[in-house]
């Protein structure tokens, strides 16, 4: 994988050329046969070309993919065995470092520090070269077999179009399955690592523990921390304060976004003229298009200092990473989300209900408050649930503007941390991939995924109820 392009590019170009060639050969063969036997071929000539080139391409691509995932690890393990022979008594972690170095030397990125390494690198290079040769030969063989199989079957009676379309349909189905595979991939990877985590830390301690400090718990070299490690190896992974912080930030965000978003939606859908609506709605959408990192930047470097200074001015102690700044800016981010979803929901309320209300002598306000909003209520709930899900899963704003320490507080002026912040903290920097610390990030990720999934399903159910009411 390391040098992806150079030899691969040649193989790639050759494969493409082979595919084109077989297309023309296949087309030519059916044309000749049709003339010779004076029959009309079942499909258009080009389908016979496609048929042959599919038989050349598809097995070759499958083989190349398998090779990609099988050959590299084999090469690596062979090289590792050689390294182990060359450097007996080397601890495992050092050997891994040396291996990384070796790969870089073989690729020509760095110079070999000594003769042993140089020799090993040469061996690796030679092994890679012969593997590449072997791959090219195998590919060529597979393509030839595929070609001759398909080419000999080409005849005017062959239902080439049907076969090609059946292939395409299967391909289309497979690409639709990618969505399922992605979900399975998410669930499997999160679950797999989370299960490993829960072998070290009990479920109960994780979900109900009130102390979260993964960093201090796993610094075994430090004497004080070692004590804590022994004493608190279970207590340090209690996610309650992290979850509390997440909820605090989300609640602040919703407190900003719901009134502003909802009233904006009421105005654009019920009061505004078409012209005003056509200006205001896209303008609000701009807020939705701003990347979250920009909001994070704004929260950390403008909003947080502003709230701190404001606090100083009125004599309040506001943390420079206050939940208020992160949540408030997150609320701004969510405004267009709520306003546009609510606008859709409110607009979907049938005009006949409004007519009914006006016909009874309601003012516009009464029509909205007493008839339209109650009718839209399930849809609005759905929109709010989606917004909460968005707030809980939002990462960059809190990474940049919220704290790292897990404080259990409901005071918005203090610093709190969130699930996403902890995931980023635990998985960036130089951590061993397999430590309990990194595994805990996946347990948090699993929790986050489940919570957002439940919220999304609930939102969908709520808005479906609205749909059923007025079809």
């Amino acid at each position: 994988m390391s040098d992806f392009l150079s030899p691969n590019l040649v193989v790639f170009a050759a494969t493409i050329a082979a595919a084109f060639l077989s297309f023309y050969l296949g087309t030519g063969r059916v044309r000749k046969q049709a003339i010779a036997s004076q029959t009309k071929s079942h499909s258009l000539n080009q389908y016979y070309g496609f048929y042959v080139s599919l038989w050349v391409l598809v097995p070759a691509i499958l083989l190349a993919l398998i090779w990609m995932f099988a050959a590299d690890p084999m090469l690596t393990s062979a090289a590792k065995a050689r390294m182990l022979a060359a450097y007996p008594n080397l601890p495992d972690s050092f050997l891994n470092l040396k291996m990384a170095q070796l790969v870089n030397i073989a690729a020509g990125y760095i110079k070999a520090p000594d003769a042993v390494m140089a020799a090993q690198a040469d061996l690796l290079r030679a092994a890679q070269a012969s593997a590449d040769r072997a791959r090219s030969l195998t590919l060529a063989a597979v393509m030839c077999i595929g070609f001759f199989y398909a080419f000999r079957r080409v005849s005017p009676e062959l239902r080439a179009r049907v076969l090609c379309e059946a292939f395409l349909r299967r391909l289309f189905f497979l690409s639709a399955v990618v969505a399922i595979l992605t979900t399975i991939g998410i669930v499997a990877s999160l679950l797999f690592e989370a299960v490993r985590f829960f072998r070290e830390v009990s479920l109960f301690d994780f979900f109900f523990g009130t102390h979260w400090s993964p960093m201090t718990a796993l610094r075994p070299g430090d004497a004080a921390a070692a004590d804590e490690f022994v004493a608190g190896s279970t207590g340090s992974f209690g996610m309650v304060p992290v979850m509390a912080g997440t909820l605090l930030v989300a609640v602040i965000a919703m407190a900003v976004a719901v009134p502003i978003g909802l009233f904006s939606a009421i105005y654009t859908s019920e009061f505004a003229s078409r012209r005003v609506r056509n200006i205001v709605k896209p303008t609000l959408e701009v807020l939705a298009g701003v990347p979250t990192v920009v909001y994070g930047f704004f929260a950390a470097l403008t909003a947080a200092p502003f709230f701190r200074d404001l606090g100083l001015f009125v004599g309040l102690d506001v943390s420079s990473q206050s939940a208020l700044a992160a949540g408030g800016v997150m609320g701004i981010m969510i405004i267009p989300f709520i306003s546009s979803l609510s606008d859709d929901v409110i607009t979907a309320v049938p005009q006949s209900l409004r007519d009914g209300a006006y016909g009874l002598g309601s003012t516009r306000g009464e029509t909205i408050i007493r008839v339209v909003l109650p009718a839209a209520f399930p849809g609005l709930v759905g929109a709010f649930l989606l917004a909460i899900s968005r707030a809980i899963g939002e990462t960059m704003i809190v990474v940049m503007a919220a704290g790292v320490a897990a404080n259990m507080t409901i005071n918005p002026l203090e610093s709190v941390t969130t699930v996403t912040v902890q995931i980023v903290m635990l998985l960036t920097g130089d951590n061993e991939f397999d430590s309990v610390k990194t595994l805990s990030a996946f347990a948090l990720g699993m929790t986050l995924f489940v919570i957002t999934l439940l919220l999304n399903v609930a939102a969908l159910t709520a808005s479906r109820r609205l749909g059923q009411r007025y079809e």
Partner: protein
Amino acid sequence: MNNPIEMIQPDAKTQARFEKIAQGLKKRHAASRRLKTYGIMAIVTAISFLAILLTTIISNGYTAIQQTELQIALTIPAEKLQNDDGTIDPVKARNFNWNGLIKKAFRAEFSDVTAMLDQRALGEILSKNAGYDLRRQIEAKGSIPVGEIKLWIKTSDDVDMLMKGRLDRNLDESQRRLSDQQIGWIDSLVADDRIRLVFNDTFFTAADSREPESAGVLGATVGSAMALFVTVLLALPLAVMTAVYLEYFAPPGRVTDFIEVNINNLAAVPSIVFGLLGLAVFLGFFGMPRSAPLVGGMVLALMTLPTIIIATRASIRAVPTSIRDAALGLGASRMQAAIDHILPLAAPGILTGTIIGIAQALGETAPLIMIGMVAFIVDVPATLTDPATALPVQIYIWSDSAERAFYERSSLAIMVLLTFLITMNISAVLLRRKFEKKW
């Protein structure tokens, strides 16, 4: 019929009821107006947030478009750099102490500064990369100027901040990054017209650096472009095939429902979860390289896939069934109808959806952090597997830096990012308008 006629009036009881209603009207209309006012206030608030956001970023970032330079007179010792035939020896050039040359020349102009500490303070006015920049300049030129030359070299970021008015002179000296003495020197240089602000081309031609004056967004932009290239390459065909399958071939049933539920749910999964997927599956399981745009693009592709699928399905559905029926009626197979007739007509809609999906991917940060595209990388990536960072991640990295000058550059990088996003969105809107058909 048009003669005025005595009309009947409601009876007294009814009349009394109407009067009662009339009495309450003023209050009710006021309540209605109040609701409207709340709506206007909400919109004004939201739009002012947008305005505040944009103005703070622009007012913080526009100064980064310029860089402070300082004029120095120095002589480059050609004999120490050249081979016998007069060409520049690359090894000699690399080993030569360029910084020392510049510092010496600069100190020579302040002959009264003799104390070690003061001389160091004087050196702090210059960029730490001044020597490196000069070397690259000479190497690019291929010849060494003879005799004393006057050069414009970059100042350190602190001087840059002072010149742009972003360093408060009135602050107590201990709180300031430049001492009174240093400010005095700078002022005298300004008085001599030896300090100037010029267009900061480094910002657009360099990758990251420890020194703000040498840092640029090119590396991150190329990293983003590479990742997005992979994203489009993967997501667009997959999305189109999926959409065609679901609209044309999917048999109604559990499997199809399950696919639809999955697509809808993936659209609402937090982006960081896709990062975790990339970390565990692409890096952990398949052993792909860390920090690579290839992997970044793959993760972003999975993330934007639902968006593009949904947009593609909508534009396929917008093509009237009469066209499909006409194709089928002429003897085309379903596949031919879909590929030859429907997809070309749906193409503008698909393209619009793709651009919007890609714009969303361009602004995404968290999943890229998860797969290690957050590293400090000083080279512009050349291949898809080179370590790289992306534009939004670069903004994140810089905004985390202590230097005031990085804050400014971060803001300018945001402006660059927003420019890309606005361009993409406007082209999507224009595309939609141009090809919008009313069937």
